[in-house]
Homo-oligomer: 345 residues x 4
């Protein structure tokens, strides 16, 4: 068996801490450590989980040590101890780090906040795993884009997709920082239509005819996407549901089952023992989905904190060639993370 | 000059109190009084405004009198003192009242929560004022439907409208009762697509090809509608804006002017001295509006508490034949209420 | 070793599902099953966890079976299979059930929403475990009261408590049902001062001089209590912190550690792998705590969904005499649930 | 009769725009104009109201003119055209402006965000109008402090006040900017007890024994203060209410009248035709107020956007000696603004 790939996570935030946890669970990967700048409760959680902690630079190391946090070294140190870096730093930071990864001869992954041009490749496992095999780097597309690619690719594979028009309700901020920046009793539309998620989906599949509009809504749980898809023909609801089952990462929920709002779905995922109540799946309302002639209408939820995690695990395997076969990696990741097929419950 | 039409308002709630205020401002109408069941601060505001207060029935009258509220009589009493009743009671109540209005030989208006069949006519001034002339009754369509009719009718008149697909973000509850029933940190989609606003718009104009999906969002200020309209041809943005100017009750707002969220628009309306910060206009984002080929994308705000008020005033004139000419009534109402054309500011 | 006590949970809601999970973890208890009326996703989670599911009555059983849920029987059935019932039903329901528990000769526990008189005993482990030994029943006091008893008892044991005055900010609704009933953009004070938490605390310790005022706030995470305590003398901050350490279920948090708001604490608990991010401890801000002369000021968080869970486990042991010694039960429960002493992190 | 005092408002924000409107209503004042840096909808409202608009500096003037706003000049220009400046700029800006006001030989008023030392005098009309007579400048204390001074001064004047302990629930952000910075689904306590409102109240009355704790809550309407006051004796509720009536700017509300939450009070004020639904009064819950022995418990609402407006008008009169007599100014301001005595409704 291949040697375990050693993965470093740079940026122990919303995405980074989940990537670290997910890497820990894979039997073909090893967490080299996590790296960050903070010295408060957030990085202490990493210590409690037994993760080697590195500081981004010396000033950060000093602050961490003053806060009683055991630090293994700085970024340079962790880069020596890994094979691949998953960069989960805030948008403007990642660009600066990339040179260091390259200089260290490492494979690296950036998240969806970075531009496609950073790596020249945008990753969505079920769509283009193969094109990532052995590359130096890739960009795992954002939560919104990941959900768009999964769903539209599923329809496309079934020959049903002509064009897609989406209205994306985006959660305003993540729960951990809702005391720092939120919106209250208002809605904040994005100033431009199309919003960037459409073009971003095209970075994975340039053939998609997709236009989105987006608006920030005052909740912290998940995004909610509404779609109006022009089908290639008058299909039945069953055909459409069958098409969506092409993806192993789209699960169905039903209003009739009491799952009538995103807070109920979050509570469900917590009840299913998902860490943080994380949902890796796109959760699509099955009873609500409607076909009218050759038009398809549906809505689904996106857990913006978690949906990219299985994608990131697969990206690690593709870049490092831990797994040559897309389906093999996807199924392995799904099994380890407990991704659900069919009905979410 | 014609005698003033005496208007009774049954139900002094969110809509009713605004109708009463608007009637008071018209020089061809007289407020016969307002009728309600409550005996708390809400009805005391009517007294402070000098409105004659009636109680729905004797038990309600007793409670009001115990609370020190001067009551002129019960519903029967106000029905004797008016020519037309505007019923603004909660959904299940209105149906029962209608028989009393008919028995009293009165013209009457119900609001959008009632079914079209209640009156056999659904009213939207700029669209079908003429068909309401002299009728016994009409139903002023709901806030959502009013905005849909105004905008789609404007596009239709300009020969641009083929079909319209909307995603409606609905405010969860009104400010006055946000302590009683609200939603918190979640989104609540309506279980069915199409939602009822599409068919409801067809009650005014059966030819509209319109399908909507709707979702409750956790704010109290206004609805936000996103639309994707299939145009009859590849039109320019200017043509579309010109079409919207066909309606005297669609005003433009600009993100670039700082009006980037519905709280800023509410604050603006308060600053323009609108009672309650009410907005009678559909407020459409001009800079955001986009034409891509023969597809049109735009978004606008609907003040659900106020948008039907000018419509209701016009409906009074149509039923009572106070004004035979639609445009004359519309312009009069607009002038008295201060409805703004072109840019909101 | 004693035989495992078989515990039935009647009411698989916010508290009930947590009691079931906690019972499952104890090596001296066995979960006989859970009983409820719902037939949607909520009870399906119980099935997924392998819990025997019972229906409250035949109509409920029918609905559950129609929904594909395997039902072992009705309430009567589960009462035959257990030694003690933990009743976690909504307020008005529990009173009716109690007669059935008595008729079945079972020990039973009700939650804090029920009146003290229902059982004649109100339970808070660190305060009065001994007085519950072998009783037929007890009432575990509410989340608010549990936190009040823990903190004031700790001060009292150190001889510091003279009187306590609290302002309680209560979360408006629980996350699972925040789509059904919430408050939005407002604050809802309780109409009466004192609010009932003071008298409720006196049901455990009649000697407490405590008066509270309470207000509902628009968030779903936790309660926040502010206290002004008149000390018996001018104590130092260290003495006060030492006193609080008398309780094994009060943990310290620090603003300086980034734990500056209750969303950060919830995120921390999720990161510490607590199911649902549950916090069994009172989390008291250590750096914020202040002594001015002989007055003490402090604030703490109460996880209303979880704080009573360790108490309930200890109550089971006391009633059934599974453990004669209070400290032994408390320490066992703490160890199994992972309750933290000293700093939360 | 004295010549009208010419008032300039520097900073046309939440407070500034209200000061401008209030000055406009006084028959002994004239609005010289308003000055700001913004060039969006906010300053356009000033134009619509017919206010002379000045730009803070040349860059601001340029932007305004590009936006089509007629500008009379810069700050220097408005300082030439007024007798007194009311500075309502953000905290760090005011300090810089003060030198300009002094250099121009003007009287000036700063708001509560500035330190007491800026002017050496902190103003609360009913408490210390006389000490402001003819001064060069004063600081109108903040919304929280204004309410504290009004209420505690009233109790003090009745000989009832020994010491006061408050828990202040502060609205997180103002409605106009709730899309820019808010908090969501959380509570954010201030890190230190005492919070600064206590010492701030002592800047007006050094003899007050008052300690406060404060917490930000996720709503935008108003602050809610809970107080526990140690009385000098066992007084009756009637004595306490009588004491509060010493202030002309404390009004009573009743839960029993349906005013059970701050959203209902805001809706009431809108219904009473207050601009923006502004409330100049402290609104104290009369039925909730409770005396227990010699302890007093009560709660009230503070409209943070409006409560300082009558104070600012009185401060203008005091500095300029427009009115030598405190009561005369207070009564005039109350009458013009429609301040309510006794019950709010």
């Amino acid at each position: 068996m291949k040697e375990k790939v050693r993965v470093a996570v740079n940026g122990y935030g919303v995405i980074g801490k989940r990537v670290a946890d997910a890497v820990r669970l894979q039997d073909d990967m090893e967490l080299a450590g996590v790296c960050d700048v903070v010295s408060d409760w957030r990085i202490k959680v990493a210590l409690q989980r037994g993760y080697p902690v590195y500081a981004f630079d010396s000033p950060a190391q000093e602050k961490m040590e003053q806060a009683g946090i055991e630090v293994r070294g700085t970024l340079a140190g962790i880069l020596k101890a890994c094979d691949v870096v998953v960069d989960c730093t805030p948008k403007k930071v990642a660009a600066q780090n990339i040179d260091k990864y390259k200089a260290a001869g490492l494979k690296f992954i950036v998240q969806g906040g970075e531009k496609h041009e950073t790596t020249g490749h945008s990753f969505s496992a079920e769509n283009n795993y193969d094109t990532a095999l052995g590359r130096e780097s890739t960009r795992v597309v954002s939560c919104n884009t990941t959900s768009i690619i999964r769903t539209l690719t599923a329809l496309k594979k079934a020959g049903l997709l002509q064009k897609a028009r989406g209205t994306l309700l985006r959660r305003a901020t993540d729960p951990w920082e809702s005391h720092l920046n939120g919106i209250m009793n208002t809605l904040v539309p994005e100033p431009e239509i199309p919003s960037h998620q459409g073009p971003d989906a095209q970075s994975v599949d340039p053939d998609l005819d997709v236009i989105t509009a987006a608006v920030k809504v005052p909740e912290t749980l998940s995004h909610l996407h509404y779609w109006n898809v022009q089908l290639t023909k008058e299909a039945s609801k069953e055909e459409v549901l069958q098409a969506f089952s092409n993806s192993t990462r789209i699960a169905m929920i039903n209003y009739a089952n009491g799952l009538s709002a995103n807070n109920t779905v979050k509570e469900l995922m917590l009840g299913l023992d998902r860490p943080y109540g994380d949902m890796y799946e796109v959760a699509l309302w099955q009873d609500m989905l409607k076909v009218v002639g050759n038009e398809l209408f549906y809505a689904y939820l996106v857990d913006n904190q978690a949906i990219v995690i299985p994608e990131t695990i697969d990206a690690i395997r593709a870049l490092t060639r831990l797994e040559e076969n897309a389906q093999a990696s996807i199924q392995k990741t799904n099994a380890v993370l407990g991704v659900r097929q069919g009905a979410l419950i």
